[in-house]
Structure formats: structure tokens, C-alpha cells
């Protein structure tokens, strides 16, 4: 405590210089926390929008179905699907499971025919786990309760299609289109569905091809009561690996993929952002280090004679270097805390204000600017700042203390 007090008094010796150094450290910490908040929010946004955009946390299918289209024509029988859903939903980390029937085929109005990628969904469950892309015209698929046998033909034969697909097919809400797809036994089947809604994902490629119909309609289209995907939604994305391995050990006759395996682009984005953030962080840290080093070199050079006096009184060079390092640490601590406080307030303000950002490449709609305040990132940044400032003071102090005591005492 006695050494800490002494260092604190020395920090206050040249208040203006210390304030400038602390301000630069605060600015550096602030910049890094804001940048990390943006990057982490981007990671989280990409991850959660991908998961909630339809992937779910884990997808289950027949072995090799993810790579072999022929096998993917088949799927889980109603009994197998029921068993899987019952056992997996019994896990406390699992929110729910839902079946999907994925298909590729054609959508036609008679005059115009376009290749589409479709999925049959249990709309009741899908609503709970998927952030549907905005319906810009009409409405979403109607709720269907197959168990109560209350499904009407109107409910079954309905579809929500992408904005660009609707435009290309020249169909409007309420009009009918024909869907053609391969059946599970390699035949061809077609059904007529009514377009009940038109949606816009913001991804033009998706909006050109997407068709969503009730799972019962998809089963009719494929002429099979099997479902080729079972989607597992978890309460927390952090549990993905745990549940994935638990499912793997419980069911050996299925293939499973996590959202990360289904969306490897995420890893590339994380890697790219990490590289950018690493370079930017290094530059900011370097500027802060140079500033603190400059401040400490000035402080140290002013106090060479004083250090010589302390050494004459029996203070070791290490003890004196520690005093200087503590001064650096105090400035680092003050700067990091100030930067953290400012960054926290700014993050709070931005998150409350919900500023609209322009659409990113490949998308046609913007998104609200959200910054993350992550305790680990903030701690790492603050600790790095404090450690760097301590080192920036320690190193020149050690160099100065190589002077002989006599040279130090007589230094002016």
C-alpha cells in the first residue's frame, strides 16, 4: 500500500501530462471496446440470424442424405420421426424439434415455369423457432393441426413465395401456381397451390427461388409420408455441441449436422473479422503504448537524480523500477476504466437508439446497429491495456536504472 501511494503521488506530479496519457489510454480502450462490440454483435447477428433464419441449431437426416440427393428423397418414417422427437425433446436444453420436407422442383403458371427450392414446414412449430422473412404482401401460411383433422384443402394447398419469384411468375396473392417435384420413388408429381403471401428475405438469390408450403402439402407433392429433415432448436446456441454429441451417442442410425457445419461461411467471416480486428487492435495498442512510453520516459528522465538518491538510501533498482511500473499501471487502470465507462455508455445509447445501417453486400434491406458489451472482451482489453502500460513504464525505467548511482544523482 505504501508503494502504491507513492506511485499515485508521482502520477499526480505532472497532472496535465498524466491526464493526456490517461486520455489516450481511455480513447484506445474505448475504440477497442466499441470495435469489439461491433464485431461480436456482427458474429452473434450472423450466427443467430442464420440459426433462426431456418437452419436451426442441429439438423437430422438419414445417413448420407446431406450429400446424396437420392437418399434425401427418402426420409424418416412417421414412427422414427416420433421416436426422435420424443427422445430429443426430453432433453432440457432442447426447445423443440420440427419436421421439414425439402424439395427441388418447378413452379409454373402455365405460361412461365421457373426452378424453385421449396420446403414444407409445420407452420405451428416453425413460427416458434424461425424469424420469418417479412411478408410484404398477403399473409403467412395458415396454422394447421393435423391431429385434430381440421385441416382444410385451402390450408394445405397454400404457399408463400419469394418476391422476385412472384414477379418473374407474374403472380399475385390469391392466384394459383403449380408445383412439380420428384417423388420419393423417383417419379414426378404436381400440386396446385394458392399463393397466400409474398416475402422478402433481402437476399435476391433466395427471393428468386423460395417456396414455402405446409408439410402436409409437401408430403402430397412427394407422395410420401416421410420427412427428410428434423430440425432441433435449442434454448441456447452455446449448448449446440453438447446436444449434438448427446444425439450422436443416442442415435447411430441417423446423420446430423450442426448449424456451423451447414453454414461454414460463418467461420470464414469470423476469421476475416478477427484478422481485421487484430490489425486494428494492434495499431491502437501501439499508439497507446508509444504515448504511455513517451510520458513515462519524460517522467523517468525528470527523476533520474531522485532515483539515484533512493538507490543511495538502499532502494534496489528493481524496487524503483516497480515504482515506475506501478505508475504506468495506475495510468493504464485509470485510462482503461474511463474508456470502459465511456464505451459502455455509448453502447447503451446506440443499442437504445437502434440506428439503421445500410444493407450489407448481397442484401437489399438494412439492419439496426447493435453493439455487444461482452465481459470477456472488455476484461481482455482492459487487462491488455493495463499490462501494456505497466510494461511501457517498466522498460525505460530499467534502462535508466543502468546508470551508476553517482551519474544518476548528478543528472540534471
Amino acid at each position: 500500500m505504501k508503494w502504491l501511494k507513492l506511485s499515485w503521488l508521482n502520477v499526480l506530479r505532472n497532472t496535465r501530462r498524466s491526464i493526456i496519457a490517461v486520455s489516450i489510454i481511455a480513447l484506445g480502450s474505448f475504440s477497442l471496446i466499441i470495435a469489439s462490440g461491433y464485431v461480436l454483435a456482427s458474429f452473434e447477428g450472423l450466427r443467430e440470424s442464420t440459426i433462426q433464419g431456418g437452419l436451426g441449431h442441429i439438423q437430422l437426416a438419414l445417413p448420407d442424405a446431406f450429400t446424396d440427393k437420392e437418399i434425401d428423397q427418402g426420409g424418416f418414417t412417421p414412427q422414427k420421426k416420433q421416436q426422435l422427437q420424443r427422445d430429443i425433446e426430453a432433453m432440457p436444453e432442447v426447445r423443440l424439434t420440427t419436421e421439414r420436407v425439402l424439395f427441388e422442383g418447378l413452379a409454373s403458371t402455365g405460361d412461365i415455369t421457373i426452378a424453385v427450392i421449396g420446403k414444407g414446414v409445420n407452420i405451428n412449430k416453425e413460427r416458434k423457432i424461425t424469424l420469418f422473412t417479412p411478408i410484404i404482401e398477403g399473409r403467412n401460411l395458415p396454422n394447421v393441426d393435423l391431429h385434430k383433422q381440421t385441416e382444410t384443402a385451402e390450408q394445405i394447398y397454400s404457399a408463400v413465395i419469394g418476391e422476385i419469384l412472384a414477379r418473374d411468375l407474374k403472380v399475385k396473392v390469391g392466384e394459383s401456381i403449380t408445383l412439380l417435384a420428384s417423388t420419393s420413388y423417383q417419379g414426378i408429381n404436381a400440386i396446385d397451390v394458392t399463393v397466400v403471401g409474398i416475402n422478402r428475405s433481402g437476399i435476391p438469390e433466395y427471393d428468386q427461388r423460395s417456396v414455402m408450403i405446409p408439410v402436409s402439402a409437401a408430403k402430397i407433392l412427394r407422395d410420401s409420408d416421410t420427412v427428410n429433415r428434423l430440425v432441433v432448436s435449442l434454448r441456447s446456441t452455446a449448448d449446440t455441441d453438447l446436444i449434438n454429441s448427446r444425439i450422436h451417442s443416442s442415435f447411430s442410425d441417423i446423420e446430423q449436422k450442426t448449424w456451423l457445419e451447414l453454414f461454414p461461411f460463418y467461420t470464414n467471416v469470423v476469421s476475416l473479422y478477427n484478422n481485421i480486428f487484430g490489425v486494428m487492435g494492434s495499431v491502437i495498442l501501439l499508439v497507446v503504448l508509444m504515448s504511455v512510453n513517451n510520458t513515462m520516459v519524460m517522467a523517468i528522465m525528470e527523476r533520474v537524480a531522485e532515483s539515484g538518491t533512493l538507490r543511495a538510501y538502499g532502494f534496489s533498482s528493481t524496487r524503483i523500477a516497480k515504482l515506475f511500473a506501478t505508475e504506468g499501471m495506475i495510468m493504464g487502470l485509470c485510462g482503461a476504466l474511463l474508456g470502459m465507462l465511456l464505451a459502455t455508455l455509448v453502447i447503451l445509447f446506440i443499442n437504445i437508439s437502434l440506428f439503421e445501417m445500410p444493407p450489407p453486400p448481397g442484401r437489399s434491406v438494412g439492419y439496426p446497429l447493435i453493439l455487444n458489451w461482452n465481459i470477456t472482451a472488455v476484461t481482455v482489453i482492459c487487462v491488455t491495456m493495463i499490462f501494456s502500460c505497466t510494461a511501457a513504464a517498466w522498460l525505460p525505467a530499467r534502462k535508466m536504472l543502468k546508470k551508476s548511482i553517482i551519474d544518476a544523482i548528478n543528472h540534471h
Binding site: 537524480a305 538518491t309 538510501y313 534496489s316
Partner: protein
């Protein structure tokens, strides 16, 4: 009487560019416990160099130094630090006080190396400051004190750890007559009361009346070593 300082054939050379300067040449002398000694000589005569070597702040080029009967190992910095902290006190020409600390805090500095708690440090420091006549100035910072008062704070700092030897390099060079007189009275009092060995370098004529032994150097050579007690 027992010699606490024994200088044996000590020489000190400095390199100045390619030229070797002999600051001290084979100086030998002894100083006993409780002596009050001045090292006299013109500027550049080697006074400060001799004082620095005796204070273990500088390493001789040749010869040997014995303190309290033991030869000093100048290569053992750790032992030297401990020795200086426990047995030596220093007063410098420029006071060398920490400007952000009060007189009391400056005096407490050497005690930070001891096991004393803050209350003990404070009590001891106030007692020494009172002895040097600065009881009413303990919370003043150096800038708020006169040159003489600052040097008395420096003297208090040198005395607070109860050293056995006090070394002062030109302690009165920056002081007026009154301050010089006050400082010398303090040092003499400590010397007489506690048997403190005082050794200082000076060519200040005003100090002559206080000095019982004068060592004179000229161009690094011992001219007179004065009479021992």
C-alpha cells in the same frame, strides 16, 4: 579508538574520451567512530569521489575499503544496498527531495525499507524533524520551504534510520550563513549525542569553527589527513 572507515591505497580513474583521469591516487586514511571530519580541497581535487567510494556509491579502481572492520565487496550490490540502508545516511548538495511529498513523507522514505508500520514511521520521522527544528513544517512540500529548511529535511531523512555514518557532499554549498549554521548545529548535536560519525566534503570557510579534523586533497592526492581523535 576503533576505525569505522579504513581507506587503503584507494585509486579511482575515469575515462574521458581516450584520456584517463586520476581522480584519486593511492589515498589511505582512517576515521574513527564519532569523528566529525571535513574533506577539504579545491574543485576537482577528488573530495566527492572519495566520499562516494566511502559511501559505497562508487567503486574504486584500485585499493580496498574497510567499513566497521570488514572489507567492502563492491560487486555485491545487494549487500551494499542493505548496508547503506542500515548504516549510512546521505546529504546531497542539491537536497534531492521528492517535490510531491511533504517534509514528513520525504523523511519517511528510507523507513519504507524497514519493517516499521506507518504509525511507527510517522512517529520516528516527526521526532527527527523536531530535532532539526522543523516540527511546524512537517506537512510542507519542498517548494514551500526555504533552501535551509529543505537541507534540514534532507538531514532528517539521512538521520531517520539511525545511521552509524553520515556522509554529506557539499551540504552547505547552496545555503546562506544562517542556514549553514543551523545545519552544522544539527549535525554536531547528533554527532555529540549519539556518537554519529560525520564525514562531509566542503571548501566552505564558514564551517572551519565546527570542524575538529580536516582531510585535504589536491588533484586526487591526500595532502593532510588531519589529526584523529
Amino acid at each position: 579508538m576503533q576505525a569505522v572507515i579504513n581507506v587503503k591505497q584507494i585509486g579511482r580513474q575515469f575515462l574521458q574520451g581516450t584520456q584517463t583521469i586520476n581522480a584519486l591516487t593511492a589515498v589511505s586514511l582512517s576515521i574513527c567512530k564519532g569523528e566529525f571530519v571535513a574533506i577539504n580541497g579545491y574543485s576537482g581535487s577528488g573530495k566527492s569521489t572519495l566520499l562516494n567510494i566511502i559511501g559505497t556509491l562508487d567503486k574504486p579502481s584500485s585499493g580496498e575499503l574497510e567499513l566497521f572492520g570488514d572489507a567492502v565487496n563492491f560487486n555485491d550490490e545487494s549487500s551494499l544496498q542493505q548496508f547503506r540502508a542500515q548504516k549510512m545516511g546521505f546529504i546531497f548538495q542539491n537536497f534531492n527531495l521528492n517535490p510531491v511529498l511533504t517534509a514528513l513523507e520525504n523523511v519517511q522514505m528510507p523507513l519504507l525499507l524497514t519493517d516499521m508500520n506507518s504509525r511507527q514511521r510517522r512517529k520516528k520521522s516527526i521526532a527527527v524533524l523536531t530535532k532539526v527544528g522543523l516540527a511546524d513544517r512537517i506537512n510542507h512540500k519542498p517548494a514551500q520551504l526555504s533552501g535551509g529548511q529543505q537541507q534540514r529535511v534532507a538531514a532528517a531523512r539521512a538521520l531517520v534510520s539511525d545511521p552509524l555514518i553520515l556522509l554529506a557532499d557539499e551540504p552547505t554549498a547552496n545555503l546562506d550563513s544562517e542556514s549553514t549554521e543551523q545545519l552544522m548545529l544539527v549535525l554536531k548535536e547528533m554527532n555529540e549525542q549519539s556518537g554519529l560519525t560525520v564525514l562531509f566534503s566542503s571548501h566552505d570557510e564558514r564551517l572551519l569553527k565546527h570542524i575538529r579534523r580536516t582531510i585535504t586533497l589536491n588533484d586526487g592526492v591526500l595532502i593532510t589527513s588531519g589529526s584523529q581523535l
